[in-house]
Structures are given as structure tokens and as C-alpha cells.
């Protein structure tokens, strides 16, 4: 099938052609597709300064956005930054290519608990970037009763004082945890079991916000919530009254990784960037800007005591678990949550 190019007035077409980026091939380029606000600008600049490789940085704000743009075509990326369970699905779909581990000299810097995880047991495809959890944050000036788990958050006493991330899979997994069910086997039966509990919970929530759930807490519009640990870490940095804890019933831990898509052109440059990120002093810069959990043990030794004391970045105890790819059930989960929200 051939498409005609649209007819534009001549002068305008000439102007546009002049503005088109020259198709860049060969060495000296890296097309990085990463989460928005997750790779600090100084890190990119430092990499370019040292290697002369120009980084074209494109961003996304959900794994699905990344997949849509990668799979539907259009973009040519050399390095992507999926979450662990998305990376798992991508490996299964042969969307990633194996790494040349010999070129990654800094792999030894990683803490052992972040290597050989279930999404990529032999570490053939992915290198961990940053990690985090989803837990409870409490404004201790407003909430005086002890909060230990999900059931303590979703109490009638906290009606309209709760913020949660707007993510159907997360919501359902909390209810599964509260009922003592496994979170990685989702089927119609388990969804039917969580339904009544989740229906109660959703009625109590004031705000659903995945992008910046800390805003509502900081503004005093809500008093507690279940949010990304990085958000909670920023809150704690702002004011110590915001305490983070991992729910007693269990919590989701995610590891975002770097990986090379199957069709990448600048494979050597992608490896160099990964190796650059693995350096302790570089990884340390990432922690300073985005206080998630740093999987790089050598970089952690460079952090200040204050950074290490942040309970959201480095929580103690707690039962952490990875999400696995649940395939088809994702749509069922979305339907359940849409249904319950509409029923209000």
C-alpha cells in the first residue's frame, strides 16, 4: 500500500523540509526512550561530554505508552526503560535483544537482591535502573490512629481524606493482599472475591492520581494514601510529618530496567550508556534527583546519611513482591475498577 505525501503549498513544504531532522545513522547517536522525569539532565550531558555520543531523549509516562509507540512502529529506539513485568512480557515476545555482558564492566556494582530476578533470571536482557515500592503514606499531624496495613487506610473515618494512585492493577492487588490472596494469579474467581471489598474502598477515596499523588497530600486536601515510594520520599524530604510504611499484608516492589529493543541500530552506544549508568558516581546523581531505591550497592555507599534515612527510599522490613505479567486479565481488572467507580 502506498500513500501519497500530502500536497502542501510549495514554500511551506520547503520550510518544513528544512526543519526535518536529518536522519541520523551510524555512530555518535543514542535514541533513548525513557520515563519522563527519571533520567536527570546532568547525567545525559555528562555522558555526551565524555563519549561524544549525542543522546536523543524521548519520554513516556506509562509502560503501555512505550509499548504502543515501540510496537506500532514509527520510532527507532536503542534503549528503553520498562518496568520488570513489562520487560518480562517483552522478552517473551522477542522484543528485546540479548546484552553483551562483557561490555558492561559495572555489573558487579549491583546489589545481589536486584540481579537474577524473576523477569530475567539470568540477566541476559536487562540491567536494573532504579527500584521502588507502593506503600502507605500518612500525614502524622492529622492521622493519630496507628496505620499498619491497607485495611487501616480504608476506614470510614478516613472517608474523603484518601489519595491513591490511579492504577487499576495496583488497586486490585491491595484488596488481594488484604484478603491474603496471591496477587499474580488473577482470574474471574479472585476478582469476584475482591469485588465487595474494593467497592467499599473506592467509595472512601477522594483523589485518584498516578502522576503526582503527593500534591493532594502536600496541599492538605487529603491526609493519607497509597502511593509510589518516590512520591513519598519527596514528601518526607519536604516535611517529616509525612511517614511512609510498607503495608503489613504485603506490597508491590517494582524494578525499572534498561534494555535494548530487538531492532536497535546503535547497540554499542546503548551498551556504553548502560555501563555509564552503572558507575557509582553517576547512579548517585540519579538518587539525588529522584529518591527511589538505588539498586547499585556501590552508589548507595556514596549517599548521605540523610538520603539513606529516608523511609520511603529505603524502607525497613515489609513483605515485598514483584508483579508478573498477567496478560489478558489486565482488561478484566480495568473493567472491574471502571464498573466500581461508576457505581458510586
Amino acid at each position: 500500500m502506498k500513500f501519497k505525501t500530502p500536497i502542501l503549498p510549495g514554500r511551506l513544504a520547503a520550510l518544513l523540509l528544512a526543519l526535518l531532522p536529518v536522519a541520523s545513522r551510524g555512530a555518535g547517536q543514542l535514541n533513548l526512550f525513557g520515563w519522563s522525569e527519571y533520567v536527570p539532565q546532568p547525567v545525559l550531558e555528562g555522558f555526551t561530554r565524555e563519549t561524544g555520543i549525542k543522546v536523543n531523549f524521548e519520554t513516556y509516562s506509562s509502560n503501555e505508552e512505550m509499548l504502543a509507540k515501540l510496537v506500532a512502529g514509527g520510532g527507532r529506539y536503542d534503549l528503553v526503560q520498562p518496568s520488570d513485568y513489562t520487560a518480562e512480557a517483552m522478552i517473551r515476545r522477542k522484543l528485546l535483544q540479548p546484552l553483551d555482558r562483557a561490555r558492561l564492566t559495572g555489573l558487579g556494582n549491583l546489589a545481589p537482591e536486584f540481579t537474577g530476578r524473576a523477569h530475567d533470571p539470568e540477566g541476559r536482557y536487562t540491567v536494573p535502573y532504579m527500584s521502588g515500592s507502593v506503600g502507605i503514606v500518612v500525614n502524622t499531624e492529622k492521622v493519630k490512629t496507628p496505620v499498619r496495613g491497607y485495611r487501616d487506610v480504608f476506614q470510614a473515618a478516613h472517608r474523603d481524606r484518601i489519595v491513591v494512585v490511579n492504577d487499576s492493577r495496583e488497586l486490585v492487588s491491595w484488596a488481594l493482599y488484604a484478603l491474603g490472596q496471591p496477587v499474580n494469579t488473577v482470574d474471574p474467581a479472585s476478582l469476584a472475591r475482591v469485588r465487595p471489598l474494593l467497592a467499599e474502598w473506592i467509595k472512601l477515596v477522594k483523589v485518584f492520581d498516578s502522576d503526582s499523588p503527593k500534591t493532594a497530600l502536600l496541599n492538605g486536601d487529603v491526609d493519607l494514601g497509597v502511593v509510589w515510594s518516590g512520591e513519598a520520599a519527596l514528601l518526607w524530604r519536604e516535611n517529616r510529618k509525612f511517614q511512609y510504611l510498607l503495608p503489613a499484608e504485603g506490597a508491590h516492589q517494582f524494578v525499572d530496567v534498561l534494555a535494548i529493543p530487538a531492532g536497535a541500530r546503535n547497540v554499542a552506544e546503548a551498551h556504553r550508556f548502560m555501563d555509564y549508568i552503572l558507575r557509582p558516581e553517576v547512579s548517585r546523581q540519579i538518587s539525588a534527583a529522584f529518591p527511589y531505591t538505588n539498586p547499585n550497592a556501590a552508589a548507595r555507599r556514596l549517599l548521605s546519611p540523610d538520603e539513606l534515612a529516608n523511609p520511603a527510599s529505603y524502607p525497613s522490613g515489609g513483605k515485598l513482591e514483584s508483579f508478573r505479567d498477567i496478560g489478558r486479565a489486565a482488561a478484566d481488572i480495568d473493567r472491574l475498577v471502571t464498573d466500581l467507580k461508576s457505581a458510586k
Binding site: 503549498p9 526543519l19 531532522p21 509507540k69 506500532a72 514509527g74 500534591t215 502536600l218
Partner: protein
């Protein structure tokens, strides 16, 4: 050639009351439009990083703005995309509106309905389907693809606005021009086009604003080199409202207001161009 502004004739007291009422209402609405904008200008001088509590006056966000090269680059990209989108949308929309008004094309109703379709198409659908389309056609993402996406949802706004104005236009106007010997094209250029000016201006403004602020379609049709400001802003806002964004917005407002004031000054100063009508 300016038409007299139409007025309602009231008993003196009533006229004054209505006049005052309309003025007051317009003022109130402008206030409504400017309140959030003023809030963000004030907050752009707040020294707090997470920017919700007033912690003191500071110009540091403006200083930081100067250091953000990618932000500046994306602002430039947005400007290029919005201007190109406006030009193409105005041409496509005005010409389309006139042709659809003037001629009885077979299937005209269908064409007009199709024109309105992109307005109701949720951005995500337009974005993803255009992405798939470009991939099928082997067109690489860049400025061209972003502009195509933007024109697709913008030009209907121009067309609808111009069409509305054409509907009330006296058909005798064109007939008179033709009787005086003007070609159809001459009649269009010399008679119709000037009469459409306010609608074209309004439509062009809408196209510009839509393009300037569009996020989703842009996301799926842009490459790293053609990323626009809203893409950048959306990423930055994810970690909370970045005060640098307030500073950037305040700066844009300043530039625009200066531009508006300047054009008003020019218009007051310069003589209006003589009418080009064949008399």
C-alpha cells in the same frame, strides 16, 4: 468600510443600564479568565520548590529557566508547529468552507460530517491510528507528522467558524461582483475574503491555540527532535508542579501581552489600508 456596530435602541435610561451591564459582565468574564493566570504569575516568584506554600519572593526560577536548553528547544518546536498548523488550517478550512457553501458537491452533507469527525475523535484514537498509519506508509516521525496530526484536528475549527459566517452572508454580494465583471476567483478574493476576515481571524486563533497546547496526538506523532512544549511540560509536571513551569508560563504571558499591546499601538498609529474594492 467598517460596518456600523449594530445597536439596540432603548429608552435612554435602559440603554445606559444595558450598556453598563454588558461592560460589567465582559469585565467579570475577563477577570474569570485571568484569575488563574495571575495566580501562576504570583507563584512563579515563590521560592518554595514544591510551590504550594508561600515561602518568600525569589527570582530563581527565572534564572533556572535560562539553563534549561531542552525546554527552550521544545518551546521553539511548539512555535514552529503551531504556526505551520495555523497557516495550513486556515487555507484548508477557509477554502473548504467557501467551496462547500458555494457549490452543491454530491455528498456534501457527508463531507461536512467527515470534517467534524476529528473534533469528536478522542485524541488518543487519532494519535494511535495516525501512528499506525505512518508506520504502514513508512513515514518516519518528525515535524511533518506532528503538523499533519495537528492540522487534522485544527482545520475543522476554522471551517466551522468560516462556514457560520458564510451562512449569513448576502449572496447578492458575490452576484454583484460577478455582474461587474469579476471572475469567480476575483469575486472570492476581493469580496468574499474581506467579508470573512473576522471569522478567519477567529478560526486561525483557535487553530493556533489548539496546536500550541496539544499533548496526546503530538505524543504519538513526534520524535525526540520534534517534541513540543506540552510534551516536555507534562513530563516535568509529573514530579509535582515545577515552579520553573510557572516562570515559563509567566514569561509567555508577558511576551504575548507585549505583542498585543504593540499591535494595538501599530493599529492606532497606522492608517488603515485603502479598500481594494472595484468601485
Amino acid at each position: 468600510m467598517a460596518a456600523l456596530p449594530p445597536t439596540l435602541r432603548f429608552p435612554a435610561a435602559g440603554a445606559r443600564l444595558l450598556q453598563a451591564g454588558l461592560r460589567g459582565w465582559t469585565g467579570l468574564v475577563l477577570l474569570f479568565l485571568y484569575v488563574p493566570v495571575l495566580v501562576l504569575v504570583v507563584y512563579s516568584f515563590n521560592s518554595a520548590r514544591l510551590g504550594v506554600v508561600w515561602e518568600g519572593f525569589s527570582g530563581r526560577w527565572y534564572a533556572e529557566l535560562l539553563l534549561q536548553a531542552p525546554l527552550q528547544r521544545s518551546a521553539f518546536n511548539s512555535l514552529v508547529v503551531a504556526i505551520a498548523t495555523t497557516i495550513i488550517s486556515v487555507v484548508l478550512g477557509t477554502l473548504g468552507a467557501w467551496l462547500l457553501h458555494r457549490y452543491r458537491f454530491p455528498g456534501r452533507d457527508l463531507i461536512e460530517s467527515l470534517v467534524n469527525l476529528p473534533m469528536v475523535m478522542p485524541e488518543i484514537l487519532l494519535g494511535i491510528s495516525l501512528l499506525v498509519l505512518f508506520a504502514l506508509a513508512g513515514v518516519g516521525l518528525g515535524f511533518t507528522t506532528v503538523i499533519i496530526g495537528h492540522v487534522t484536528f485544527s482545520f475543522p475549527f476554522v471551517l466551522v467558524a468560516v462556514r457560520a459566517r458564510l451562512q449569513g452572508l448576502d449572496p447578492a454580494l458575490e452576484e454583484a461582483a460577478r455582474d461587474l465583471g469579476a471572475t469567480p476567483w476575483g469575486a472570492f478574493r476581493r469580496v468574499i475574503l474581506p467579508a470573512l476576515r473576522p471569522a478567519i481571524f477567529a478560526g486561525g486563533l483557535m487553530a493556533f491555540l489548539l496546536s500550541w497546547d496539544e499533548l496526546i496526538v503530538t505524543y504519538f506523532t513526534a520524535s525526540a527532535a520534534s517534541a513540543t512544549l506540552p510534551l516536555k511540560v507534562f513530563g516535568m509536571a509529573k514530579v509535582g508542579l515545577n515552579p520553573v513551569l510557572n516562570a515559563l508560563s509567566a514569561l509567555f504571558l508577558l511576551v504575548t501581552l507585549v505583542g498585543v499591546a504593540f499591535s494595538a499601538y501599530l493599529r492606532c498609529g497606522a492608517r488603515r489600508p485603502p479598500p481594494t474594492f472595484p468601485r
